[in-house]
């Protein structure tokens, strides 16, 4: 069963949502769903005490991804 919610976003936030939707070819619903999944999968790792790192393309720099 699907449920509906209303989001109150600033113009800047909505601008990002709309540009990401256009770039990824997703509806706003699908974009929020994907964002939730990514957030949960990263948060699950952090909750276990794991660290998440981001490495640059030439592998010369690696930084821990900080989630607030």
């Amino acid at each position: 069963m699907k449920r509906t919610m209303t989001l109150n976003l600033s113009a800047i936030e909505m601008g990002f949502v709309e540009s990401l939707c256009a770039e990824k070819g997703l509806s706003k619903t699908a974009l929020v769903r994907q964002a939730l999944r990514l957030y949960k999968s990263v948060d699950d790792r952090l909750a276990k005490g794991d660290k998440v790192f981001v490495e640059n393309a030439d592998k010369t720099d690696k930084a821990e991804l900080m989630i607030l």
Partner: protein, 212 residues
């Protein structure tokens, strides 16, 4: 807990007839009992034989023998936001199972056609040992792997990901994904057990579904 998604005709290579397989979203204790009680003894028997004749798990088409589907089922039940698990049944037996991720760090495309676009990541796919060439001299059902890959592509369409799927292949399955499914081979991933990474781009997924 599982839900019937539909029926798929599978060719029984022994009888030459098509049989109606049932595709389920979710797996239950019956499926796990089939895997542990019917798949595993056959795998273990062939493993012992292979060991005696100096063959590797790859040589007997059993590189996934160590996968624990019970744990994977629990992961899918505990985290339905990210995971989906599917089972294919036919002839009173579990013929294949698949675990996919619908979101997370692995679900970004690396394909030049659509870099960073979202995709369904195919985490694990296994077919019953009696359906595997090399493992047995006369494999029974043909098309179990393809049926589950089509399910992943279909899920990707449903999730607005245009049919895109990605996966890391075990060495023995590389030819299948490359030549029979038509996935793009994007090379060895040195960040993931040195397995080759494959993707089905949106253009190929669209073609695949239009051919069916």
């Amino acid at each position: 807990m599982k839900d019937l998604l539909g029926n798929i005709p599978l060719k029984n290579r022994i009888s030459g007839e098509f049989e109606n397989a049932e595709l389920f979203h979710g797996i239950d204790t019956d499926n796990l009992a089939h895997i542990e009680g019917r798949w595993r003894p056959m795998f273990e028997h062939r493993k012992m034989e292979a060991k005696g004749s100096g063959k590797s798990l790859s040589d007997i088409n059993a590189e996934d023998l160590h996968w624990q589907w019970g744990k994977k089922a629990i992961a899918a039940i505990q985290n339905p936001l990210v995971y989906d698990i599917f089972a294919l049944e036919c002839g009173g037996n579990t013929q294949a199972v698949m675990l996919v991720q619908k979101g997370g760090p692995k679900c970004f495309s690396r394909h030049e056609e659509h870099p960073r676009a979202p995709l369904v990541y195919l985490d694990f796919l296994s077919t019953a040992p009696w359906n595997r060439p090399i493992m047995v001299s006369e494999p029974v059902y043909k098309g179990c792997g393809r049926a589950l890959i089509s399910t992943a592509v279909s899920l990707s369409f449903e999730e607005e990901m245009c049919g895109r799927i990605g996966l890391h292949s075990l060495p023995k399955a590389e030819d299948f994904y490359r030549d029979q499914i038509g996935m793009s081979d994007l090379g060895v991933d040195d960040n993931y057990f040195n397995l080759r990474y494959f993707e089905l781009p949106a253009s190929q997924a669209f073609k695949m579904f239009n051919e069916i």
